[in-house]
Subunit: 432 residues, 2 copies
C-alpha cells in the first residue's frame, strides 16, 4: 500500500513518524495531510536507506537540487560528487536529470548512495534510447516509454516528472498564443515533437491509468511536469500554461483516487507581481496538492546569477504557499552546472525556502532567526557561525578582516550594538 | 534655488532634462514629480562633473553602494578602487561611510572622482572628531555637529543621512518595546548615546530648521535616517520603528515646505510578509516621499550571503513601490566589504531593482527581458551577452563547458527550444 492509501485508512506508517519527528509536528498532522493529498512522502518501496522527507502544507519548504550528466559532460564520479555537495549544502531531495553516458548506471549509483529522495524524468532516457535504437526520438513506442518508467520505479526512484498535461489541446493553445520562447521544458519538447510528428495524443495522458498502476505498485510519487511552463517573462501566466494546469488538476484528482501520491510542477519565468496568483491558481485548480516550482525566475536578463533571480522568486512563491523549490544554479541558461554551482544553487534556494517559512509561520522558522539575533547581540561569534546557514562561509568572511575587538571590522570600535548597550544601561527616568 | 524650488515654480532645470532623457520620460513628468516631492534629484551645487540621477515615483529603481573605510581598514586608494568597481557594476549612487583615516580627504577624493551622486553620514565624522578633540563622542557640541554637516555640504555631498527621528520619545518607546537587537544603526547609536548621556533632545530634531537652511543653501537632499530600524526579524515593524517613521513624516513635510529635497530611509530586517505593509506605511505617513530601504533582509541566519537575502527583500520592496535600494554585500554582519563584495552587492541589488521595475511597470523594463528572451530563442549568444546584466560573467560561465553546438552544454543536442522550433514548424491542422 502507498503512503496515501495507508493514510486514507487511518494507518500511520514509519515514514509518517519520521517526517513528524523531523518537522516537530504531531504524527496525526502528517497522516491527515497525506490522507488529504496535501502532503506527500516520496518513498519508493525499493529505495533502501532512504530517510523519508515530507513535502506539503504546514511543513518546511523543501529544496531540490538537479544533478546529472548532459550528452557532452559528466560521468558517474562527477555526479556522485555533486550529490555529496548537494547533501552537504542542505538539499532535501535530488533529481538525476542525466542525458549522457550510461544513464541507468548513473541513476542506480545515485539511488544507492542517496539517503535523500531521488527524482528522475524517465522521458529523457526513453527518448535517448529511442534515438539510439530506432534512429529518432519520434520513433519511441508507448512500450518504450512505459517500460522505462517501470525501470525507474523498479530501481527505487522516489518521484518522477511526467509531462502528462502536454495534450493536443495544450499545443493548439500554445500555437494560438504565439509565444516568445515556445517550449523550454526538455521533456515537454520531446513529447510535443513526438505528438506532432505522429499526429497522436500524449501517451502519458491517454494511458494515464497505466502510469498510475506503475506508480501505485512502487509508491512512486508523480510530479506532474509543466511542459508548457513559460521560459520568458513575456510568456508568463498565458493561456497555454493555464490550459495545462487545468489538465494537471484533473490528473491530480485521478491520482488521488487511485491512491497515488502526486505533486504539481510550476513555472519557470514569472514577474514578481504574478507569483502569488500562480500559487493560488495551482492550489485552487489542483485540489491543494503540493506545489513544486522551478525558480521562478523574476527576470530574464541575469544569466550568470540565476541562483539569485530564482531565490527572489522562490522566496515569494514559498511565502505564498509553495511547498517545494527546485533550485536554480548560477550556470542556468549557460552551461551544465559544476559542483560549486550546485552548492551555490542549494544555498540560495535554502535562503528562499527559509524566508518563505518565516512568512508562512512554519513551526520553528522564526525561532532560528531569533536565536541568531541574540547571538549577534551578544557578540557570540561561535554561536552565530553554528546557527548560520553556511558556517564555513560565515567564518571565512568574518576572518577576512579581523581586529581583535568583539565587534566585526565593518564598524570596529564604532559598533552600534556596543554603543546602544552601553547607553541604554543608563537608568530610565521617564518610562514606566 | 533648489531643484524642488525650481520645480514648484514651474521651472525646468538642466538636471531635470538629463533625468528625463535617462528615464525616457517627458521632462514635465520629472518636473511635476519633483514639485510634488515624489522625485528627488540629489545634485549639490558644488559637485562638479555630476551626472544627475532621479529617484522616485515612476522612475527606475535606483541602487546605492556603500563604500568607505572602517577604523581599522581601508584608505583613499582602496576606497577609490571600490568606487570604480561600484560604477562598473552599475550602481546609481555611492555613499562614503568612512569612519577611519583622513575622513575629509577620502570624501573629497570620492566626490572629485564620482560622476554619481555621493551621499555621506556626517554624524560619523562629527562623532569621531569629538572623540579625538574632546575625548568622548558624548562631548560633541551642537556646533561640532552642524559644522561638520556644513563642511560636507560645502564639499559637494549630494545627499546626507540625518537621523532626525531618533527623539526622546522614540527612545522611550524603544525601551518599553524591549527589543532583541536594540539599535543597529551606527548614526542612531551615536545620537542615542549622546542624548542619554546629556539628557537632551536630538539636536538634528530640535534644530531641524538649522539643518534645512544648510541643505537648502547647497541643495543637499536630506535622507532621513532610520536610527530605530529593526536589526532582527523579531524587532520588525515594532512601535519604536513606527514612532520614528511618524516623526520622519512630519519632517518630510517641513523639508518640503522649506524647499529642501527629502527622502526617507527604511529597514533593515523584515520578514517577507511585512515588506509591502512597510512600503505602504512609509508612503502614507511621509507624503509619498521617495523611499530608500536598506535591504531589507528577509532572514537573519544567512550571513555570508546577505546580498541574496537583501536582493529578495529589495525586489519585493521595489515591486511594492520602493524607489531606492541600498545594496547589501556578502560581507554584511561579518566584515568590511572588499571590492569583490562591492561588485556582488551591486549586481544583486540591480537584479532586485530590475525585477521590481518589471512588476511596477516602469517604462522599458519588460522590453529588456523580451529582447533577451528573443536572443535566447534565436541562440544569438553575442546578443544575449550584450543584453545581460553582467556580460563578462555571462561569457565566462557560458564558456566553462562548450560543445560547439548552438545550444548550451546544459542540454546539448537535446535542447528544448531547438526541438520545439523544429516540430512546431509542422503545419497546423486544427488551429485557426
Amino acid at each position: 500500500m502507498t503512503q496515501l492509501e495507508l493514510a486514507k485508512e487511518g494507518a500511520v506508517s514509519p515514514q509518517m513518524g519520521q517526517v513528524a519527528q523531523h518537522e516537530g509536528l504531531a504524527v496525526e498532522v502528517i497522516r491527515q495531510g497525506v490522507a488529504l493529498g496535501r502532503i506527500v512522502i516520496p518513498a519508493n518501496i525499493n529505495h533502501r536507506g532512504l530517510v523519508p522527507c515530507g513535502i506539503g502544507q504546514g511543513l518546511k519548504t523543501k529544496v531540490n537540487a538537479n544533478i546529472g550528466t548532459s550528452p557532452d559532460f559528466g560521468d558517474i564520479d562527477t555526479e556522485l560528487g555533486k550529490l555529496k555537495v548537494a547533501v552537504g549544502a542542505g538539499a532535501d531531495t535530488v533529481m538525476d536529470l542525466s542525458t549522457g553516458g550510461d544513464i541507468a548506471a548513473i541513476r542506480r549509483a545515485i539511488i544507492a548512495e542517496s539517503t535523500l529522495p531521488v527524482g528522475t524524468v524517465p522521458i529523457y532516457q526513453a527518448s535517448i534510447e529511442a534515438l539510439a535504437n530506432h534512429g529518432a526520438i519520434v520513433k519511441m513506442t508507448d512500450d518504450d516509454l512505459f517500460g522505462t518508467i517501470e525501470e525507474h520505479a523498479r530501481d527505487g526512484v522516489d518521484f518522477i516528472t511526467v509531462h502528462c498535461g502536454v495534450t493536443r489541446q495544450a499545443i493548439d493553445r500554445l500555437r494560438i498564443q504565439k509565444r516568445v520562447a515556445d517550449v523550454v521544458s526538455r521533456g515537454g519538447a520531446f513529447l510535443m515533437g513526438w505528438m506532432l510528428h505522429n499526429e497522436s495524443e500524449n501517451p502519458l495522458y491517454e494511458q494515464y491509468d497505466r502510469l498510475l498502476e506503475i506508480a501505485r505498485q512502487y509508491d512512486v510519487t508523480l510530479s506532474l511536469g509543466d511542459g508548457m511552463r513559460p521560459g520568458s517573462l513575456a510568456d508568463a501566466t498565458d493561456r497555454a500554461q493555464i490550459e495545462e494546469l487545468i489538465t494537471l488538476g484533473e490528473l491530480v484528482q485521478r491520482a488521488y483516487q487511485a491512491g497515488v501520491q502526486v505533486i504539481v510542477e510550476g513555472p519557470g519565468h514569472l514577474p514578481i507581481n504574478q507569483i502569488e496568483a500562480n500559487v493560488q491558481l495551482q492550489k485552487s485548480l489542483c485540489n491543494e496538492a503540493p506545489f513544486y516550482v522551478l525558480g521562478p525566475l523574476v527576470t530574464d536578463v541575469a544569466a550568470g546569477y540565476d541562483h539569485i533571480t530564482g531565490a527572489i522568486g522562490g522566496a515569494i512563491a514559498a511565502a505564498a504557499g509553495t511547498d517545494f523549490l527546485c533550485y536554480v544554479t548560477p550556470a542556468e541558461h549557460l552551461s551544465l552546472p559544476d559542483s560549486e554551482d550546485v552548492r551555490q544553487g542549494v544555498i540560495a534556494s535554502r535562503i528562499a525556502a527559509h524566508a518563505g517559512d518565516i512568512a508562512k509561520g512554519i513551526k520553528g522558522a522564526g525561532e532560528w532567526d531569533r536565536k541568531m539575533s541574540l547571538a549577534r547581540k551578544n557578540f557570540n561569534w561561535a554561536e552565530q557561525a553554528r546557527l548560520s546557514l553556511d558556517p564555513e562561509r560565515f567564518s571565512r568572511v568574518h576572518e577576512k578582516h579581523t581586529t581583535g575587538g568583539q565587534a566585526c571590522s565593518m564598524c570596529g570600535e564604532f559598533c552600534a550594538m556596543e554603543i546602544a548597550e552601553k547607553y541604554l544601561s543608563i537608568p530610565v527616568t521617564k518610562c514606566p
